[in-house]
Subunit: 346 residues, 2 copies
């Protein structure tokens, strides 16, 4: 058996002071005699003391833990549930979100609890988890439209912050990128390099992000005298991007510029173009969106509209933290600028 872990009491005895004093030193509360501080610290070292999180949480009423919830649509089968997790993590986007979140939390000695909410039962588990005080709040990364989770959390009064604006509007904080302006950058770049037959591979149009990117692209083209452009819809995956590109090519073989609403679809578009015997960017220029790892993995490397995902994710965590601490009481949104990253594909 492992010997019993030392408690505050043990340290106090060792240092010849009271529990309260040790607690003050551990928590860095001022008004403690430097000499006593030293004695306490020595005792902490010699006993190998580590504060017990449960005991602390019980009195502070804080778990000092936040949940990172990947929300989406899925059916109830067990296979599907497991597949959902794998699929979500496979998205290069998600890695950067985690990275940004961890970048914010780690200096605070906090770590995210990873949860998946793709069914009603799973959503209820998330709510239960938070209501038990297992976590102080939730960061929600939604991969579907009409996600009921944000509104559910809001109605339960549970702190949360979202990555991207929720579609059924809900009174919760979120971060987002300026999709329309990002798409505008893409449109202007294609026009600027002289493309005449321009088309776009849109994302799933039930998602606000996909809608906004398409709208921004269309508006800009219209403002430049091109009121109508061919559109094919994909599902933000490589395969769907390739398929959409093929559909566009079959109807408009003379396309010389394409804006895909994310990098994965841009990658698929590049593959489809290559297989059709076209060169990128010489015959057709391609621009993606996100600047995810797929942009660099793609041949040729993608010119793309960059979202500062890590920074956005860190801000999302900060918004949540401020809400938990009661510093912030009203839902807040922070929208980041997009930026064009020019590589080889356009």
């Amino acid at each position: 058996m492992t010997r019993q872990a030392p408690t505050l009491e043990d340290v106090a005895r060792e240092a010849g002071v009271s529990r309260a004093t040790v607690s003050r030193v551990v928590n860095g509360v001022r008004n403690v005699d430097p000499a006593i501080q030293d004695a306490v610290r020595t005792a902490i070292r010699s006993t190998g003391y580590a504060p017990n999180r449960a005991a602390r949480s019980l009195v502070t009423r804080r778990a000092e833990t936040i949940a990172l919830v990947v929300s989406g649509a899925g059916d109830d089968s067990e296979t599907e549930q497991n597949a959902f997790a794998a699929r979500a993590l496979a998205d290069p986007f998600f890695g950067r979100v985690v990275s940004g979140v961890v970048g914010f939390l780690r200096p605070r000695s906090m770590y995210p609890v990873l949860m998946f909410a793709e069914t009603e039962a799973a959503r209820q588990q998330v709510v239960a988890y938070l209501r038990q005080g297992s976590a102080d709040g939730a960061l929600v990364f939604s991969t579907r439209a009409e996600d009921p989770l944000p509104a559910l959390l809001a109605s339960e009064g549970l702190p949360c912050a979202l990555f991207a604006r929720p579609l059924p509007q809900a009174p919760v904080s979120f971060v987002d990128v300026a999709h329309r302006e990002g798409a505008q950058l893409a449109a202007e770049h294609l026009l600027g390099r002289g493309c005449r037959r321009i088309a776009t591979v849109a994302g799933p149009l039930e998602l606000p992000a996909a809608q906004d990117r398409l709208a921004g692209f269309r508006d800009t083209m219209a403002r430049h005298g091109r009121p109508w452009i061919p559109v094919a819809e994909g599902r933000f995956t490589v395969d769907s991007g390739a398929a959409a590109m093929n559909r566009l090519l079959s109807e408009h073989p003379d396309i010389d510029g394409v804006f895909a609403a994310n990098d994965l679809m841009a990658q698929g578009a590049c593959e489809a173009l290559r297989e059709s015997g076209r060169r990128v960017p010489d015959d057709v220029a391609v621009i993606g969106f996100d600047d995810s790892s797929a942009a660099l993995a793609c041949r040729p490397p993608l010119t793309t509209v960059r979202q500062p995902v890590q920074e956005m994710a860190a801000t999302m965590a900060r918004l949540l933290q401020e809400q938990i601490e009661g510093i912030r009481t009203e839902p807040t949104s922070v929208v980041f600028d997009a930026e064009l990253v020019i590589r080889d594909s356009a």
Copy 2:
């Protein structure tokens, strides 16, 4: 302000019983009168009671939480630390590990806490986290050789289970796949389809997995009268696989079969072969390892050696859980069979 959360006491009062009885009902302890059970359950519903995790943990001495640690090498810069997380999650392998772990934990209402341990400071944070009782044990997914974390956890007496055999041997449980036998399957398949000039792209040879795959491949080739085969080393990434393939081709342009030690490198090899004007599998057959999402994303889809990653990860979680519960006291290893999945590349 949110109203105070209801406690056991509140439920007890509402149901007209004692705290102890409510606790028994909540925890499903037998010996409670069915009528009283009903009354208690009604009271739980009407009060909206949710058990407080901290209070429970304090007395049970269980966090009912486990850490999922991605361990690896990195420098101390903040940029690098964040990059590490993004890189780890970008590996298609990791998503399946998470998926398997979550598949085991979720039915138990547990969720993994995601931690990264790429520096000494980060490793100490992991140890501190466990010693505080924030988590009951750690699942370690190591991306480097000579990882000091397993031995560190073992020496602190902290429960842990690893994905893959640790290189500096440590007295900890782990799951693994039969790398040598898997490589043997690949070798035999290439030989069976008539390849005469066979080479291999090995993984980073400081990793036991890479060593074992190479050894298994070499041994099998030797047993079939080919004591020497060209080897180029990669780093388990697409780019390094392409580079390794190019090195092999420059010295042995007549290669007609390649075994890459993982799918990402196999994908890179396919790209390099295509760029050199060779067709896969007609001119050169390619076999990967893992059966990760990269195997399907690759053109052509990869014939590969499948590791049952999800099952392995679930077993790893089970080994840890049993250790935490004290059911299992000795370090245990479980090694899974590999399986050849035949697609188009060989």
